[in-house]
């Protein structure tokens, strides 16, 4: 029996390495595993088991968080496939540059206008839809060994759009 600490996160949960995964299945397995190893189960056990339980439970938490979040899931798959994340060779997509400028401007306008109203909601919706589309693209690229550099490039773009989404929500919170 291999130690859970050395298994990759997907096989830890008994899932195939892929961007698309069944959320409910991941959560159900996560809970089953935590039920078996959580420190609360070992509060009265031998010291060795208490320590081990903290380590393993922490590892399972990390695995779950990594796989649950789409951004970190993509990053993790890229790492598993041996892609160098620091590789900045890939030229950014013209489409990416254009959208970036466009949305940034829209956001500045909304902020300057002081009232986000429906324009902000529309912007959030638009970015969210684009993120979903980009993730679909990446999901496919991750399946094809020859497209991994494209996957990395799109992953870098994706990070940018998630940040933008956060900023848009920040503006919303400030005005509320």
């Amino acid at each position: 029996m291999q130690s859970p600490l050395t298994k990759d996160f997907f096989s830890l949960f008994g899932l195939p390495v892929a961007f698309h995964l069944a959320d409910e299945e991941l959560t159900a397995r996560y809970r089953e595993m935590q039920s078996a190893v959580h420190p609360d189960r070992y509060a009265n056990a031998a010291l060795q088991e208490q320590r081990m339980s903290i380590q393993v439970a922490a590892h399972i938490n990390e695995a779950y968080q990594t796989l649950k979040n789409p951004l970190s899931r993509i990053r993790y798959i890229l790492e598993l496939k041996g892609v160098d994340l620091q590789d900045r060779e890939a030229a950014p997509d013209p489409d990416f540059l254009m959208r970036q400028i466009e949305w940034r401007e829209t956001m500045e306008e909304i902020q300057a206008a002081g009232g986000p109203g429906s324009r902000l909601a529309d912007l959030v919706k638009e970015i969210t839809a684009y993120i979903a589309e980009l993730q679909e693209k990446i999901a496919g690229e991750l399946e094809d060994e020859t497209l991994l550099s494209a996957a990395l490039r799109h992953y870098n773009e994706l990070q940018y759009f998630y940040r933008l989404l956060e900023e848009a929500r920040d503006i919303g919170d400030m005005v509320d």
């Binding site: 609360d40 031998a46 938490n61």
Partner: protein, 625 residues
């Protein structure tokens, strides 16, 4: 969970005897202890019908301090020696306390290191020691009610307590001679009591406004799993602050200067509290107060004025409410219910404002004073091993981000807030000088970018790094936050594998030596003997270690160990049994360490097997089920 049952190899485990465990709500204003008796969690009284123990300790010139005074006369007559609201000072430094100091009459003494002390006629005491007195009183109460020594307790802390505040609470428990099974977050404790009671499913908000702390937690309940999605709060905001705004209004109305003596100010606070309590049910409250010049002032506070006065305080709780929704990544409409906890949520104005914010009627039909202690008692009962087979699972989070100091006084975040615990993060460091053998890592907690804006937790000094040229040593430092929300740090040089020694310098906490010292002091007072107490503690620990290993061996020793491995463990076990009743505590300690080492591999295999079995749908210890 049958791990905790006691059984001999080869025979079916007999029903374990009921173990004495308790849940303790160590509150700013009041404290409570509860326990599960005959399947029912109940709060334990003082024998005279009282359940709440006021968190007040009065030190006397001679004799033991008196805990839980209900008569406010003492606070009035002897304000400097009657310590209340000590929870506000837990894990705080001199600087923090200076900010709070003008609200309290006590004389603070700066200690050689971080933690300040309060000067009383009986000597100088740290907040940890004062809290330990309250815990001792609760321990005595529980042991009388349960008819014997407690095997373990769960102590609740505000979810928003930082590492230093949690550690201070745990230190206080140690001083009081309590074995802490777990530090449990107060809103989570309330959720257990409430959720198990109601069989509720879905996403809930727990709004907990206590005497001196405020927490808001978002939890998802689902089939016995309590998952905290996010938590936020203010560990220096509570009912005390409501009392204070009323007291200020009173001083103003009665024409008493803030320079009045401490006894007078304490009395004003007392009247303020009475008014607050009365105005939850009445529309106005009449005062009759003797001014310092002897004249009598009479006045009246209308509920509308009262509400105007306290609204700004309550409003301060709404910013964390907003943030917690965002952190949990949910919309306010996703929340199916808001549960109100803490005495201050009795105030109708608080209920109205919270209800309006969450767009729903707050749930108030549980006693907001007792629900935390009840939840803690349920958890303690499970953790101590009284409910084998119970599959309740609690997944809690770290309330504030943990980071380390980097160049230019900036913080690099290692573990973001609202990460599920336990959690570990490894970070690599290198040396910047030839032959460098030590380095210091400064750990802070908080959300701000500058070190100086966050709370300093500790400086970890790594020692014994093998001397190499600059940049050649690679030190991997592992930060671990356990299920109590407490941080520990370990480090290893990667190329040589050398485990580096770590000296912890807590910024506001007590060192191991200080605790040892306090323990000795407190025992001298009680004319007890340190060495006897220590020996007894080791004997109890040895007994426990032997039991749990025997149970583990009975469960799956056959399946997971070779004959030789089994023989090695049996030998270590026999060696411990041989010394456990002797009077040499060092021999017991050594034998326990040996047993610990001998079982390391076995522990790991058991863990792997239990994960494997969980995933394949079998229980590790099927035969006992």
């Amino acid at each position: 969970m049958s791990l905790m049952q006691i059984s001999e190899p080869g025979e079916a485990p007999r029903t374990a005897e009921h173990r004495r465990a308790a849940g303790i709500d160590l509150g700013t204003t009041n404290s409570l202890v509860a326990s599960v008796i005959d399947e029912q969690a109940v709060t334990l009284g003082d024998g005279q019908g009282g359940q709440l123990l006021p968190s007040v300790v009065r030190y006397l010139a001679s004799g033991s301090p008196r805990v839980g005074l209900t008569d406010q006369q003492f606070i009035h007559d002897d304000p400097l020696n009657t310590i209340s609201s000590v929870k506000r000072f837990m894990g705080r430094g001199v600087e923090d306390i200076r900010k709070l100091a003008d609200q309290f009459p006590y004389e603070f003494v700066r200690a050689e290191r971080g933690m300040p002390r309060i000067r009383t006629v009986a000597g100088d005491f740290s907040p940890v020691e004062v809290s330990a007195e309250i815990l001792k009183a609760l321990k005595t109460r529980a042991e009388q009610a349960l008819g014997g020594e407690l095997e373990g307790v769960v102590i609740t802390v505000p979810a928003y307590f930082d590492d230093a505040q949690r550690q201070a609470t745990k230190d206080a428990a140690q001083l009081a001679g309590l074995k802490v099974l777990r530090l449990l977050n107060e809103p989570t404790a309330a959720a257990i009591a409430y959720g198990l009671d109601q069989g509720a499913e879905g996403i809930h908000a727990i709004y907990d406004l206590g005497g001196g702390t405020f927490d808001i937690s978002i939890l998802r309940f689902s089939k016995g799993v309590f998952e905290v999605l996010a938590t936020a709060g203010d560990s220096a905001l509570g009912g005390d602050d409501i009392d204070r705004v009323i007291a200020e209004w009173l001083l103003d109305q009665a024409g008493i200067g803030a320079d009045a003596d401490q006894g007078c100010l304490q009395e004003i606070m007392y009247h303020a509290r009475k008014a607050k309590e009365a105005l939850t049910a009445q529309d106005s409250f009449a005062f009759s107060i003797e001014r310092p010049d002897g004249a009598l002032w009479q006045g009246r506070l209308e509920r509308v004025v009262f509400e105007d006065l306290i609204r700004p305080v309550i409003k301060r709780t709404l910013a964390p409410c907003k943030r917690v929704l965002r952190d949990a990544n949910i919309d306010v409409r996703d929340i199916c219910e808001v549960v109100m906890v803490g005495g201050s949520t009795r105030i109708p104005c608080v209920r109205d404002m919270v209800g309006a914010f969450f767009h729903c009627q707050p749930h108030v039909d549980i006693d907001p004073d007792k629900v935390v202690a009840i939840g803690a008692a349920i958890q303690a009962d499970i953790l101590v091993g009284n409910k084998p087979g119970d599959d309740m699972l609690l997944l809690d989070v770290i309330p504030l981000s943990l980071g380390i100091e980097t160049m230019g006084g900036l913080v690099e975040k290692l573990i973001p807030r609202n990460t599920t615990i336990p959690v570990t993060r490894a970070q690599k460091f290198t040396t910047f000088k030839d032959g460098q053998t030590a380095m210091v890592i400064h750990v802070v907690q908080g959300e701000r970018e500058l070190v100086s804006d966050n709370r300093s937790l500790a400086r970890f000094e790594l020692q014994g790094i093998p001397p190499m040229v600059a940049g050649a040593a690679h030190i991997q430092v592992t930060f671990q936050v356990d299920a109590d929300g407490l941080l520990s740090v370990s480090a290893r040089e990667l190329s040589t594998g050398v485990e580096t020694g770590i000296v912890v310098k807590p910024s506001y906490g007590l060192s191991e030596e200080e605790i040892e010292h306090m323990l000795r002091d407190s025992l001298t007072h009680a004319s007890d003997d340190v060495s006897i107490r220590r020996l007894r503690e080791y004997q109890v620990e040895a007994e426990r270690a032997i039991n749990v290993i025997q149970v583990a061996l009975a469960e799956n020793g056959e399946r997971l160990l070779s004959r030789e491995e089994r023989a090695r463990i049996d030998m270590a076990l026999a060696a411990l049994q041989a010394v456990q009743d002797g009077d040499d505590y060092l021999a017991i300690k050594q034998a326990m360490t040996n047993l610990d080492r001998a079982t390391a591999e076995f522990a790991e295999r058991r863990m792997n097997a239990s994960i494997h079995d969980a995933l394949t749908g079998h229980k590790v210890n099927e035969f006992s089920g």
